[in-house]
């Protein structure tokens, strides 16, 4: 067998959207709305009908900015504080101002949100300061709703294509997409005037404590492909050292759901059944307190519901066992955990990159433009802090509009044959190799190293060792053997995870201070150092192919912070639990 055995399939579209989870469908629909003459392709590694983080629906909006309940200014202030000040407020503010328009659009399309007796949205308070949580107890149909809109807008959809690299032209602008079919192994070469990356989080970076490769918090299809593609195309990535780490149900590794249960009276407790944090909103500080409790002899940490009334528990069961992660009821039943009598054991998640939950992503501005011409990004992989699902939809919307405007009157660039040949060689090597290492084992070892050396608290010497280990894994990747196209997909993901692991180590080494609570706690630099590090840290591939970092000024605030608010998230530990 040789490279020629794999068919080249060539196509061209004005805009290619990679990733049809949450942000991607919105981007495709809004680009088409902006200019109905455009030819748009939505590409997914899975099947758009059920792909991505919201595959089975969602329990609620975590960051709804709804008139009468919250203002865009208040939300921007809250996220600025929750993210320790390192925020391009223009991006957060742009989201906040558009948040309600996005909700109204989804509502018109048929997504169901909780409303009170008067028909007003039933917003709940979970954050430290404002109220932004809008439950969706009947939120399981969200993918169906999106799919209907994609069909109505006549968006071309191609499923089961694993995109691996972006093509760039002589000026450095993005001009195409390469990928392969994970069933037939055909090679896809797609010319494009603009590309929108919506590939979700880097969810397979750390190894879950269970040791099960696919037992991740994130949908494991999201291996970090978008981060790697953007990096290799020359894009800048922002604040990657601000890892994603979440408080989850132990072993099951899904959200324990303080956002659902909190407004109904549930809370996070230590092994004495006592509250130790006053606010369950996920932030670096909250995770720091969670970690202290786990390590300090007061762990494990639990989700406490056993004090609630029967009726309330039934409501909680109805939501948590039918939506978002519907297998959790079965998980609890296997372990005889009945919310009525037992607290739910929690643990800390593996590390990842995700701007949906923290702030680590491909740099974008308030128009969803990356630093590479013709390349846009939205959703978990695009660096707009704490953006969650509604932020993914909203930035998908922005990306669709921006890309549609950019391609107007633009010609296709010629594709570089050499780039294509090089990538084809790289992709198919594991299938052509007669003998070699199994992708699952290499992935296991790589992700175990990620845990051993990169999991916070971060230690300089360990992270330096990590870089040596990741170099060795690079050599192992050159020895991977894939027995079929499916395993080839896993092999290509190992390369993606390795790239992200190196980015995680280098970004963490660069910022010589501690910030964002547990997300970037450096033992060798334990204090926050605003004088030297009140900056964004950006990472990119330089001209000679090296991974380099630099500081970038934090943009002047649009919405100033009051002195008394500034440290609100530093005071999450309850006084009673301090002793």
């Amino acid at each position: 067998m040789s490279l020629d055995n794999f068919l080249n399939l060539e196509q061209e579209y004005d805009i290619v959207v990679i990733g049809g989870g949450t942000a991607g469908p919105m981007a495709a629909i809004k680009a088409k709305e902006r200019n109905p003459n455009l030819r748009i392709l939505l590409l997914d590694k899975a099947n758009v009908k059920r792909s991505g983080a919201i595959s089975m629906g969602m329990d609620g909006l975590n960051n709804a900015v709804i008139p009468g309940h919250a203002t865009p200014e208040q939300y921007t202030r809250e996220i600025t504080i929750a993210n320790d000040g390192i925020v391009n407020q223009a991006t957060v503010y742009a989201y906040a101002k558009h948040s309600f328009t996005t909700i109204e659009q989804l509502d018109r399309w048929g997504v169901k949100f909780e409303k009170d007796g008067t028909g007003d949205y039933a917003v709940k308070k979970v954050h430290h300061m404002g109220s932004y949580v809008l439950p969706m107890p009947e939120g399981h149909d969200i993918k169906k709703v999106l799919y209907r809109q994609l069909k109505r807008a006549k968006i071309a959809i191609t499923n089961r294509i694993v995109s691996t690299r972006l093509l760039t032209d002589a000026s450095g602008a993005v001009c195409g997409v390469l990928g392969f079919d994970c069933r037939s192994a055909d090679f896809h070469i797609i010319k494009a005037k603009a590309v929108i990356l919506c590939c979700g989080a880097a969810g397979r970076l750390g190894l879950p404590a269970s040791g099960y490769l696919m037992g991740t918090y994130e949908n494991p299809t999201n291996a970090g492909d978008g981060y790697a593609m953007a990096y290799h195309a020359g894009a800048e990535l922002a604040n990657l050292e601000c890892f994603q780490i979440n408080p989850l149900i132990k072993d099951y590794n899904g959200p324990a759901c303080a956002y659902v249960t909190g407004p109904l009276g549930g809370y996070t407790a230590n092994n004495k059944g006592n509250r130790f944090i006053e606010c369950d909103y996920w932030s670096g500080q909250m995770m720091w307190e969670f970690y202290q409790e786990l390590q300090g002899g007061n762990g494990p940490v639990f989700l406490k519901l056993d004090h609630l009334a029967e009726e309330t528990i039934q409501t909680i069961e109805h939501i948590l066992h039918s939506n978002e992660r519907p297998s959790r009821g079965q998980f609890h039943a296997n372990r005889n955990t009945d919310y009525r009598h037992k607290m739910v054991e929690m643990h800390i998640s593996e590390i990842g990159f995700c701007s949906g939950h923290s702030a680590s992503g491909v740099w974008v501005n308030e128009r969803a433009e990356t630093s590479v011409p013709g390349l846009y990004s939205a959703g978990d992989m695009a660096a707009v802090p704490h953006n969650y699902m509604l932020g993914a939809f909203t930035y998908g919307w922005f990306a669709g509009h921006s890309a549609a405007d950019y391609v107007a009157g633009k010609e296709f660039s010629a594709l570089d044959k050499e780039q294509i040949a090089r990538e084809k060689q790289r992709v198919y090597a594991p299938l052509l190799r007669e003998h070699g290492l199994p992708p699952a084992q290499v992935e296991y070892k790589l992700r175990r190293f990620v845990n051993d050396y990169l999991q916070p608290p971060k230690v300089t010497r360990k992270m330096e060792l990590a870089l040596e280990r990741f170099d060795q894994i690079e050599e192992d990747i050159a020895q991977l053997k894939a027995a079929n196209p499916h395993e080839l997909m896993r092999a290509m993901e190992v390369a993606v995870i390795r790239d992200c692991a190196e980015m995680a180590a280098r970004a963490s080494l660069f910022r010589q201070e501690s910030r964002w609570g547990l997300y970037h706690h450096r033992v060798d630099f334990p204090e926050r150092d605003d004088a030297n590090w009140f900056y964004h840290c950006h990472l990119k591939k330089d001209q000679s192919g090296r991974m380099v970092s630099h500081k970038r000024e934090v943009e002047p605030y649009l919405i100033p912070l009051d002195d008394h608010e500034r440290n609100a998230y530093d005071k999450l530990r309850l006084k009673a639990a301090n002793g």
């Binding site: 059920r50 595959s55 269970s210 099951y252 992660r325 297998s327 079965q330 998980f331």
Partner: protein, 81 residues
Amino acid sequence: MSQKAHDIFFRSNAPVTVDEDKCIAHKGCTVCVEVCPMDLLAINPLTQKAYMQFDECWYCMPCETDCPTGAVKVEIPYLLR
């Protein structure tokens, strides 16, 4: 080279199972195969029934929820059970 590593296959118990009496893949159904985000399910060409081909399940459930005949059952993978 005189020494060559051969493959040893690691045995696993499929957490996702299909009731073959209920499965109508022989009539052209491929719903569960289509919706699985991890692409783990396939139709066995001999029996014309769906089955789990790869053990990389995220226990997310679209396969079970969307099967028109209720033939699919998702168990939590053993390592997490």
